[in-house]
Symmetry: C2
Subunit: 352 residues, 2 copies
Amino acid sequence: MTGIDPSSWSCPAPIGRRSTVVMGHGGGGRLSAELVAEVFLPAFANPGLDQLADSAVMPFAGGRLAMSTDSYVVRPLFFPGGNIGDLAVNGTVNDLAMSGARPLYLSAAFVLEEGLDIGTLGLIAGSMGAAAQAAGAQLITGDTKVVDQGRGDGVYITTAGVGLVPDGVEVSPSGARPGDVVIVSGTIGSHGVAILSVREGLEFGTVVETDSAPLNGLVDAMLAVAPAGVHALRDPTRGGLAATVNEIAGASAVGVVLEERSIPVSPEVAAACGFLGLDPLEVANEGRLVAFVAPEVADDVLAVMRDLAVASGAAVVGRVVADHPGVVVARTGIGGTRIVDVPLGEQLPRIC
Amino acid sequence: MTGIDPSSWSCPAPIGRRSTVVMGHGGGGRLSAELVAEVFLPAFANPGLDQLADSAVMPFAGGRLAMSTDSYVVRPLFFPGGNIGDLAVNGTVNDLAMSGARPLYLSAAFVLEEGLDIGTLGLIAGSMGAAAQAAGAQLITGDTKVVDQGRGDGVYITTAGVGLVPDGVEVSPSGARPGDVVIVSGTIGSHGVAILSVREGLEFGTVVETDSAPLNGLVDAMLAVAPAGVHALRDPTRGGLAATVNEIAGASAVGVVLEERSIPVSPEVAAACGFLGLDPLEVANEGRLVAFVAPEVADDVLAVMRDLAVASGAAVVGRVVADHPGVVVARTGIGGTRIVDVPLGEQLPRIC
């Protein structure tokens, strides 16, 4: 079946007029090439991607390279304040930033379900291009596969990213020390509640929007004011603040005491969590970070954070202690303490 | 629901005794951590992965960085000679090698379907670790998500990789020049026929095994003998040799004349393709490359290729011409010529 004669096609419509994804879009032939040319190249345009080689080749200064990847299977694909596309870019940008790296290059691989609307894919790709530009990173290489209907869910996206860790920056999950101040960059729980509200058709008076946002500019500002004083950073995604703080406590072999009343939670998220029986500490965030910062620079770090819109609600929420290494406790509003454990699984599956 | 008390678990079995994937394995909590600790860390063990940070941070010499990604949705997960795991590693290793890069670091992201057997996942992860080691690359970071039954197909894997392009190496899809010799590294079509034979329950007398293999060592040897004489490289995966040679012809604005009788096809693959009405030139390969090489070094390059087991069947299959830029023709065994076009889609969906 080589030597296809265009005049013999039963459906000669070009891809631009084909409205849904077919299996052939994943075949590596002409349909794949047209999908790339008409959907992805315009959305991601940059010199690396335009090479269309098996790999993109880009300059990289010598030093420490950070690499990260995440798959995104969020359901639904669109939700208040974002969609799977900007979420997939912000998530990998943020994972790089949490190592103190400057995000440079991103890849994006798509698993499309046969029948997906191509206009929907175009909207998602457009959001990815805009998110990459906002973070100052380039989407330089990608891949597309198609699976049969009933073997996917519209689109799954896997992004990977590489960044450069500037000399002198030492940020690590094992870097927290007794005395460190624990700072969160804003209200928690918005992403999880935003997803749940559309998935379950719930309304809480006000629409809760995802917090999904790139955090690399915030990290740059924090490191500029305290290059050696930011000891550990992590974004509290799946498992929420509870999982994240436990991971740092475990990796650093320190204890953490959180002040429950100081943890910022919006009234809408608090109401939704109360209604649904969720603990806001376990709900996913996609545009927040937790920082473990030396006490002598904590005020300066907090000040530069609050100067940026993405962290205007930053707050001190606790302190690192030498007691009970690996254990996180919260002082409750009524003067007691409780252990904040790692959630077993996820209260809200497919949140990202 | 914080402060989980282990004594209250209805199912206190550790992950090691949990036999299938549950939604909670994708939740970022304790189940996720146990899956990583018990399945992925032992299979991939290396210092980068052991950091368990949001990103892995590794040294990288300055210069040109190559980056590539591919999702793997092959069905079935296991097939003669390989499985989705080594395929996913070899595929990204090869995409890096086709840019002349030395593969260094890999990421792996898993989309698991609820109910997947954890032993199966362990076998796949083990194959990935072995494949990475064989290629001299390290799997340094990863991610796991879980989707509901009926929204996936066992496991989809997305690998990304970065490599370093040595100084002086200039390999590019647009690098082919009139006069170049076209070499393939061995018999074509085995991967596609291997998949099809198990998927459709067909038998062709002998079991046809996938050609899936890492090609970076082969590329190193070719570049060592002809650093400036290897102009373009590509692995003919989806769309087969037909799509690949067309891509190079288009990117380089040259014509290509293939000698159909010189293209190596095993008797088993030829028989299977004849039986199924497939053109071997359009069938996917996962351990083969096509090289466009300056004529004065072609004999030397062919000789070093044949010295390696992975390319012992290497053969000259055609030549680059200045005529008919962007068009590939094949001289047939009976003295005629035919146009070798890019396949429209894929004869064999979900081949990789």
